[in-house]
């Protein structure tokens, strides 16, 4: 067991994949000598060579499009998109090619491509550096989408994503890159929780709180604060956003009867809406109150002086927990 930062844990996972499979190649902007703008690929080009850790031209569609060709040739490309807001030039290649090639060819051509995306806000950046575009991709069939929340998952899930024969969007919460955690580097991937499974990270009985990526930590903090008031919050780290592991969420809601979902992405058409609808369909009669969403606003990601208002924090989440429990909250007395 070693103590690693989030970024270092991903780095260790990438290293392991490069060591284990000669078909794994990394590509992206500034990932070589610089080691990536967040240093996630630090030292990998030096150790594995320029042919396996490839500094690419500044062309996101080009990165993903050439990865498709490499996958055709039998490679397992791991592409870094430097920032969430830079992924859109690659949107066509991801949605029209990466996601559909396996279906198009009825399994003749696999697309074992991993696309790493540092995402989310909270680091005081200018525009295009703090976005949460995951719902665009969870809406796209053919892709698997995961968001990691802690160094151990970051380490194991990057390896599982690379080993997956399906394409995986791997969202990394950039504001947690420097958080440290225990990482068992000897963990056998076959024994690890599968890539598409959610995890209950805090057991509770009064309300179910669903989070992923950067907000898992916030959700756990909120659960601790709620406990001081005698409220028992069960926190679920979704880990997989497509598909969502509904049986785990469902089992929790059947127990608590109340559901709060939180994410940084805007509310409308977001993952929270999908989870609220699905859980309502699956266990309507177990719900004691309407599902609550605590999310970013339906605004472009704001300038950094205002981002703390946009991002769900501990207090907003607790306000949502109160709403789910029918306790006095900021919207008390408001109809609809």
């Amino acid at each position: 067991m070693s103590k690693l930062t989030f970024a270092r844990a991903i780095n260790a996972g990438l290293r392991k994949s490069l060591e284990n499979d000669p078909k794994v190649v990394l590509m992206g902007e500034d990932i070589g000598a610089l080691g990536g703008v967040f240093r996630v690929t630090d030292g990998l080009q030096k150790d594995f060579g320029k042919h396996r850790v490839i500094d690419s031209p500044l062309a996101e569609s080009g990165i993903i499009g050439t990865a498709v060709g490499l996958a055709y040739r039998g490679y397992r490309p791991v592409c870094e998109i430097q920032f969430d807001g830079f992924i859109y030039p690659a949107f066509d290649q991801i949605v029209s090619q990466v996601a559909k090639m396996h279906y198009r060819t009825q399994g003749r051509v696999k697309m074992p491509i991993t696309i790493r995306v540092p995402f989310g806000g909270g680091i005081g950046s200018p525009e295009h550096h703090s976005e949460s575009p995951e719902a665009y991709f969870t809406h796209t069939s053919g892709l698997r989408v995961v968001a990691v929340s802690n160094p151990q998952d970051a380490y194991t899930m990057i390896q599982q994503a690379i080993a997956s024969d399906d394409p995986v969007l791997y969202f990394e919460p950039k504001r947690r890159y420097h958080d440290k955690g225990d990482v068992d580097e000897a963990l056998d991937l076959a024994r690890a929780l599968p890539l598409d499974k959610a995890a209950v990270v805090n057991a509770g009985s009064d309300v179910t709180l669903v989070a992923y990526g950067p907000l898992v930590k916030t959700a756990k903090d909120a659960a601790m604060a709620a406990a001081d008031e005698g409220i028992s919050v069960e926190v679920i780290d979704l880990r997989s956003l497509a598909p969502v592991d509904y049986p785990v969420v469902e089992a929790s809601v059947r127990k608590t009867g109340r559901l709060v979902i939180t994410h940084e992405a805007g509310q409308s058409g977001g993952l929270g809406a999908e989870i609220a609808a699905s859980i309502t369909e699956r266990c309507f009669h177990y719900l004691e109150s309407a599902p609550v969403r605590i999310t970013g606003f339906d605004v472009p990601y704001p300038y950094s002086k205002l981002e703390m208002h946009h991002l769900p924090d501990l207090d907003r989440i607790l306000d949502g927990v109160d709403r789910a429990l029918g306790r006095p909250n900021s919207l008390s007395g408001l109809e609809g």
Binding site: V25, K50, H51, S56, P57, A59, S61, G62, I64, G65, T66, A67, V68, G69, L70, A71, Y72, R73, G74, Y75, P77, P89, D92, Q93, S96, Q97, M101, H102, Y103, R104, T105, Q106, G107, R108, V109, K110, S141, G142, R144, S164, D165, D166, D196, A242, P243, V244, D245, Y246
Partner: protein, 389 residues
């Protein structure tokens, strides 16, 4: 001439100063032509050597392939009119460009086509049913790409240029001497992906050939809307040499493609070929070119018909015997009949196939929807109980 001048000092780590607008392959801005529209063999000091092995037998065989794919094209168009195919993108007029280029490839080369390259698919060994089934709506792919080293035809314009470049980067990593060829049209040269592909291909000196069939029309848009300069002049700015070849001259197309493939195999990097040809038919069977195209232009190009030209060459050489004519006709008839019967006899896919192969591993969302839809379909087989409604 064509050897590695263009590739020198262009490794991506050391972008050297030798990146001028020089283009060692351009034939003085002229169209490379080895056979005139009248069927006269024109000798060329540099390119003749690349087709010197193409003897009488090969010429006849090229003629056969071109005639057969024209017949496939006509039969498929008829099948569409009869409701047996949902759509067909005709290649009429582009037979020399497609046959000349694809006949230059080795089996181990890998090809990334657009949707119009049915002639290429035929040459690569796709079965006729495989060519037809996408256009019948029975599948979104035809053949197994790994069986004939031909990717599934790409519908998004220009997208495959990047796939070809990536594949070529993989070839480089493998240390193989395979070449990769991407087909696209004049319209695609405006797409960002084609331009990004040229950036990547030049930076890594990938063994890829960009084969652009300039058929003059992107649905209703003439090529002048795509480019203010000749298409073959555009790659020069990326440091990629180009050849502008008469795309209706099968011999010249072969020479140009062989040069480009040879450069790729020898580490010379990418080459861009502009094959100047003409889409004599509509964009697809759903298109009506009379709304935007001058019939005089079509007439003019009919005079440069690629098959007619080859016939004239064969006649001049005394090769177009009754025997050859009969053999080619019999082959075309047989192929057309096979296309028709395989198309009409094709079994429909089953409803639940819609869920298959979205992922290569089990997926809980898909499985649940498949299960629910299966129950829904089964519900039609249940007797409706009295008073149930």
């Amino acid at each position: 001439m064509l050897t590695d001048q263009a590739g020198k000092g262009v490794h991506h780590d050391t972008p050297g100063p030798g990146h001028s607008a020089q283009n060692p392959l351009r034939t003085g801005g002229n169209l490379l032509q080895l056979v005139s529209p009248d069927g006269e063999r024109i000798s060329h000091p540099e390119f003749d050597v690349w087709v010197k092995d193409v003897g009488d037998e090969q010429l006849c065989s090229l003629y056969e392939d071109m005639t057969v794919i024209r017949r496939i094209d006509a039969e498929a168009t008829a099948l569409q009119r009869q409701g047996e195919l949902a759509l067909w993108p005709p290649l009429l007029g582009q037979e020399a460009a497609q046959i000349g280029s694809s006949r230059s490839l080795r089996d181990d080369d890998f090809v990334f086509p657009s949707y119009r390259e049915s002639g290429v698919a035929y040459v690569r060994g796709a079965h006729l049913a495989e060519i037809a089934r996408v256009w019948r709506g029975n599948a979104s792919y035809g053949w197994d790409p790994q069986r004939i080293n031909l990717a599934t035809p790409q519908i998004i314009i220009g997208s495959q240029s990047l796939h070809a470049t990536g594949y070529a980067m993989g070839v480089q990593l493998d240390g193989a001497n395979t070449a990769v060829l991407a087909y696209f049209g004049d319209g695609a040269t405006s797409e960002g992906d084609v331009n990004e592909a040229m950036v990547f291909a030049a930076s890594y000196q990938a063994p890829v050939v960009f084969f652009c069939q300039n058929n003059h029309w992107a649905i209703s848009e003439p090529v002048r809307i795509q480019s203010h300069v000749q298409l073959a002049d555009r790659p020069t700015g990326f440091g990629i040499p180009s050849i502008r070849v008469d795309g209706n001259d099968v011999l010249a197309v072969m020479a140009a493609t062989r040069v480009a493939l040879d450069r790729a195999r020898k580490g010379g990097g990418p080459t861009f070929i502009e094959a100047v040809t003409y889409r004599m038919g509509p964009h697809t069977t759903a298109d009506d070119p009379t709304r935007y195209r001058d019939p005089i232009e079509l007439e003019d190009w009919a005079g440069k018909d690629p098959i007619l030209r080859l016939r004239k060459l064969l006649e001049a050489k005394g090769l177009l015997t009754q025997d050859v004519e009969a053999r080619v006709k019999a082959k075309a008839d047989a192929v057309a009949a096979e296309l028709r019967s395989s198309c009409i006899g094709m079994p429909d896919p089953q409803p639940l196939d819609v869920f298959n192969h979205v992922y290569s591993t089990p997926n809980s969302w898909i499985e649940r929807q498949k299960d629910h839809y299966s129950r829904y379909l089964n519900s039609f087989n249940q007797p409706v109980e009295e008073g149930a409604l």
